[in-house]
Symmetry: C2
Subunit: 367 residues, 2 copies
């Protein structure tokens, strides 16, 4: 193999490839990447067995070939070079890199040990704009379960119907649901649903760096491919049935509070200083006075109370919440004003914006 | 006690006090601060027993008094408030804080358990501009020993003579020496020397936030006070004799290299990727060609070689260095051009700038 490319181009690709490649010390081949020429192009391939990626790197191919090299070393070295032309040439198992007055040689690894990234059959296909998918992921990922005790919820559910798509995550204490309407946002061949692992969802959010690219994603029973210009990102799917979450979303509410998001966040953060180990803060609504009172107390710390005058309809009420869950929900909303719907001390509350198709359902802490 | 102050003023003081106060979980009284009124002023006092601080906080004192309160809680809470007027009032062992529509109560701790910060006798005194002291500390602290196996070098030596002051740190592998000339930089009553702990030196660098303040520092046998406007910072001194370091500083050099600092740093960083576990890189000087060659190699990583054409006088030579030590020394120099003096494979090299009173002595790795 012999290629010439610009430092900037290969650096960006190595940055993504390094993140995808495994940090597993017991399988050093997974800490490597496959660089191969294909149809006059250079491709970088990395996998950690749960997901894999293929990145096209603009380069001038002078001699076809493929090599396996340690990704961290290569990325550190090339990342520190200035943006100059660099030559990569493999001979007898050694990669030589020439860049102006710098010359390095790096031993390559056995090609046949590098794991193949499995092919995915195109059983279902969706086209969606990158910015829309990225925003939807950003709004739901912090609600997904981090532990694997219920494997289905350690992921993000995608459900595509003829006219609406729903993107959902929950850890059973709170739930995020984002709706997309087909018109102008996505096209799908037919109705279908799948669950991607949380790690895949987080990585996908990082891989999407431009908002205006048309993406295709297609699935078979066990796997999914996300196709961006120059990038193929392949992941396993979580098999199993997602919980029937819709039944727990309240369809009406007892108390409806409209409040400035920034002020609500700031008061919850202040209260959080006085919360106990279970992160509890209490919200008491005085509908008659249009006031909410935020309380927190812990014997060794002291007591906190703050009043916010705002717009309230419905009944008085109070409930105790994990302040971290409230903050997570509020952070997922981009508008300046939020709607906070409460249903007393035992039933779920909802955080949403007036004009968005996103809702965040949060269970009170039972006291 | 009853005082009124602006959030911004007390926030800044709490930020410093929190850093000084101990994180020792076994002595919770050290995680607290003493707030006391004195001559119509509010003072915040913190200590971790090795050093202590007194900070004046602009405030309107309505009722004299003193209280001990947990500093992290107070700092988190007040730090999150907007910049508004806040009222602090103590009654029956409880501190009440009022800030617009927010009210908190915090239990105070027993005053008599808070450790006294010892008084320092003014046996020797120096006046110095804050910016000069801060810059000198910045240039030497990364050379001090982090471990306490030789207690004297786990600190920074200050030696004030009639016409010159020297500020020195070493961990026995490298040594930083900064010279100040009395004219325009400091005034001292007489010749004296002392060693401040590394932790004190690092904290002092953080406490000095303005470059143009006149500071006084005075010492007795065991302690030192640094006096800044509104701040008294008190620390123990390290007793014992500082090693006689001057004898190891080479007085002449075999090879003298003048080189652009940025290029030298960049090439050393590239080489470091290929260094072995002992961080070794080799520098080979070809005086005839005005070239230095930087080498690094480790079997599993590969080999690196880079050439820099620069200005060289003296003999050819080569030596192996810990790249981290070279980078530390280069970072301590502010000028764009540095002088690197080598003395073969076994004797110390020196990094300095042409027009600065700072030198960094570094031992080669013996191979």
């Amino acid at each position: 193999m012999k290629i010439v490319c610009l430092q900037e181009n290969i650096k960006e690709a190595l940055f993504i490839l390094e993140r995808i490649s495994s940090k597993n010390q017991e399988l050093p081949i997974l800490n490597s990447i496959l660089l191969k020429t294909e149809n006059g192009l250079l491709k970088g391939i990395a996998t950690d067995l749960e997901f894999g990626i293929e990145v096209e790197i603009p380069a001038k191919v002078e001699k076809q070939g493929e090599i396996v090299v340690p990704v961290k070393l290569l990325s550190q070295f090339i990342g520190n070079l200035p943006n100059i032309k660099i030559k990569l040439e493999e001979k007898d198992g050694v990669l030589t890199i020439d860049a102006e007055n710098i010359k390095t040689t790096i031993p390559t690894l056995p090609k046949n040990e590098f794991p193949l990234i499995p092919k995915v059959k195109k059983e279902h296909s969706v086209h969606i704009q990158s910015g829309i998918l990225k925003k939807a992921l950003d709004q739901v990922v912090n609600s997904a379960a981090v532990s694997y005790s219920i494997p289905e919820i350690a992921g993000v559910l995608f459900r595509f119907n003829e006219d609406t798509a729903k993107i959902v995550a929950t850890d059973s204490f709170r739930l995020s649901e984002k709706k997309l309407y087909q018109k102008n946002t996505y096209t799908t061949s037919e109705k279908h649903a799948f669950i991607i692992p949380l790690k895949t969802a987080v990585e996908l959010g990082r891989i999407i760096t431009h908002d205006d690219e048309m993406m295709e994603l297609y699935t078979d029973k066990n796997q999914i491919v996300f196709i961006l210009p120059h990038i193929h990102f392949i992941s396993r799917l979580i098999t199993g049935d997602y919980p029937n979450y819709e039944q727990i979303i309240p369809t009406s509410s007892k108390t409806k509070i409209t409040i400035q998001k920034a002020e609500f966040i700031s008061k919850i953060k202040l209260a959080s200083v006085f919360a106990s180990k279970i992160n509890d803060i209490k919200i008491v609504v005085d509908a008659g006075k249009n006031e909410i009172h935020i309380h927190a107390a812990e014997q060794s710390k002291g007591q906190f109370q703050s009043t916010v005058v705002t717009d309230i309809t419905g009944e008085n009420g109070e409930a105790v919440f994990n302040y971290k869950y409230l903050l997570d929900g509020l952070m997922n909303i981009q508008e300046e004003e939020v709607v906070f719907e409460m249903n007393g001390a035992a039933l779920p509350a909802i955080i949403k914006s007036k004009n968005d198709s996103y809702q965040y359902v949060v269970m009170p802490i039972k006291t």
